[in-house]
């Protein structure tokens, strides 16, 4: 009797959960048993892709560099745009209407997956690095724009008033009051976004941006699974390397001028 009472509040959510799960399972054709069968098949296939085709290794290096550079450019331009958006979206710097519109745009961008942006850009401009860089740049705005705007709003308003009180105008307040305070955040968030953009660069590459993502997709398409395995190894190395790079840079910059 008492145990029923304790769990009572869980019963309704649980029923909803089970119903939704059943419905979803029917739609996906994915009952619990099939789940493990599917995973097993996937893992088995993955095992068949081994060993990698080492002869293809050298062909993959240039596309890998392409992907990295696309991610780099996407991050740099994206960060610049995000800073502008963040300054416009901060309540302590912007007119309320400007802030509302900017925040809306940032939220809107966050809701559009980068792949969708890329597909539209490819439809407009064709294949190549350009749609990739633009898609990644725009993709940054949702995340960096919001994070930086929030950080800017946390700046002590007295700091801003202090500069205004000695005669500084809006731009000077931004350059001398806001930017120095948020630079560590800008660097840290941008490095983190770079990690994300490297992964995205690979994915977008297969949809038209080129680079090692395209090579991977192409290999699968040509049924050359060992070659695909090689591409995968290179991609893993890229991602891992980027993470380490980002980690060390962030650690090093935290040492110098560490301040809240």
């Amino acid at each position: 009797m008492f145990s029923f009472k304790r769990y009572r509040k869980f019963i309704l959510p649980l029923i909803i959960l089970l119903t939704v799960t059943e419905g979803a399972a029917v739609i996906c054709g994915a009952t619990f048993g099939k789940l493990f069968e599917g995973l097993y098949r996937g893992i088995a296939f993955f095992g068949n892709m081994y060993p990698p085709d080492w002869s293809a290794f050298s062909e993959m290096l240039e596309p890998a560099l392409q992907s990295i550079v696309i991610a780099f450019l996407g991050t740099v331009f994206g960060a610049l745009m995000s800073i502008v958006f963040a300054l416009l979206a901060a309540s302590n710097l912007s007119h309320p209407w400007v802030r509302a519109v900017t925040r809306f745009l940032i939220g809107l961008e966050r809701s559009i997956p980068e792949i969708v942006i890329l597909i539209l850009l490819v439809a407009a401009f064709g294949l190549g690095a350009m749609p990739g860089v633009v898609a990644l740049s725009l993709g940054c705005i949702g995340m960096l724009g919001k994070l930086l705007a929030d950080i800017i709003e946390e700046i002590d308003p007295l700091m801003i008033e202090s500069i205004e009180s000695v005669g500084g105008n809006k731009l000077q307040v931004i350059v001398f009051g806001v930017l120095p305070q948020i630079i560590p955040n800008i660097i840290s968030y941008t490095l983190f976004r770079f990690e994300i953009n490297i992964r995205l660069s690979v994915l977008l590459g297969a949809v038209g941006a080129g680079g090692v993502g395209y090579e991977l997709d192409y290999s699968f398409g040509m049924l050359q699974y060992h070659r695909a395995f090689t591409a995968m190894i290179i991609i893993i190395a890229m991602v891992f390397g980027t993470e380490q790079f980002s980690y060390y840079l962030r650690k090093k910059l935290k040492m110098e001028g560490a301040l809240k």
């Binding site: 995973l39 996937g42 296939f45 809701s111 597909i119 539209l120 407009a124 350009m130 997709d217 991609i235």
Partner: protein, 270 residues
């Protein structure tokens, strides 16, 4: 208070200029290498204008013409839902196998940790392509991919959550002679459950965006419809589908945020 070195403004300006120039040169080289012209968007804007012309007005009849669009949306939602649910459960199980305070056998623990690290770095593209071959292009393949991706994204986090649990409750339970499984059930799970569920809701939010992308590679769902419409140049359909995608993502986001706030109280965290 230690005395810091005083740099004159002119020297500071030179330092800043050097860094700035280096970045500009790096970016310029990168642009040349990839043939990317930053001004290209503006110089070639007529492409965008042309496309916009073809894309408007959006054709919402895609919803009513046949049931495939509505079905596709449901497929994407289901894919994300099941991928998060199953993936979350598997992630939690592996996390318990990988946590130092719940798995005393080093061999199992190291294997579990290695599996989690591997799944974390494997590119999502590889995973979807493999499953499309293994089980055929379908929503099922997309769902399996999301299971793997979820374990990869959250396995390590869950492990750390388990390891960071407060010890005293565990010790108290041990001291009354309980088994390891009981400690897990009564001490660890209650402590991590709210954050766990909040993270799964967050994972759902992330996975819905991923699910759309997976559709393009054979995972079915609305992503597939989008790619299809684009490949036959039905741009008005494309616009309609894009707006539907945006609405879907926003709705999922709002639901996820709302539920997370109810579970965690104000100030939604991971």
């Amino acid at each position: 208070m230690s005395m810091a070195k005083l740099t004159l403004p002119s020297k500071k300006y030179r330092q800043k200029m050097t860094v700035f120039s280096a970045v500009v040169v790096a970016v310029a080289l990168a642009c040349i290498y990839t043939n990317f012209n930053p001004l290209g968007i503006f110089l070639e804007f007529h492409y965008v204008r042309d496309l916009l012309g073809e894309m408007t007005p959006p054709n919402y009849h895609v919803l009513s013409d046949n049931s495939s669009t509505v079905m596709a949306i449901l497929q994407t939602l289901s894919m994300a839902f099941l991928g998060t649910l199953y993936g979350g459960v598997i992630a939690v199980i592996i996390a318990f196998l990988a946590a130092s305070n719940t798995m005393p056998f080093r061999a199992i623990r190291l294997t579990a940790r290695f599996a989690l690290s591997f799944l974390r770095v494997i590119p999502i593209l590889v995973v979807i392509l493999i499953f499309v071959i293994a089980v055929g292009p379908s929503t099922f393949a997309g769902m399996l991919t999301l299971v793997i991706v979820t374990v990869g994204n959250f396995g390590k986090l869950f492990t750390e959550m388990i390891e960071n649990v407060d010890n005293p409750p565990a010790e108290a339970i041990f001291s009354v002679g309980a088994s390891r499984m009981q400690v897990i059930r009564y001490s660890i799970i209650p402590q991590i459950l709210p954050t766990l569920i909040a993270n799964l809701l967050f994972a759902f939010d992330v996975n819905i965006r991923a699910a759309i992308g997976l559709g393009i590679f054979g995972g079915g769902g609305i992503g597939f419809q989008l790619q299809l419409a684009k490949s036959v140049l039905h741009y008005k359909d494309v616009t309609a589908i894009v707006t539907l995608i945006i609405i879907m993502v926003i709705v999922v986001e709002k639901i996820s945020d709302y539920l997370r706030r109810r579970i965690l109280g104000e100030g939604k965290l991971r």
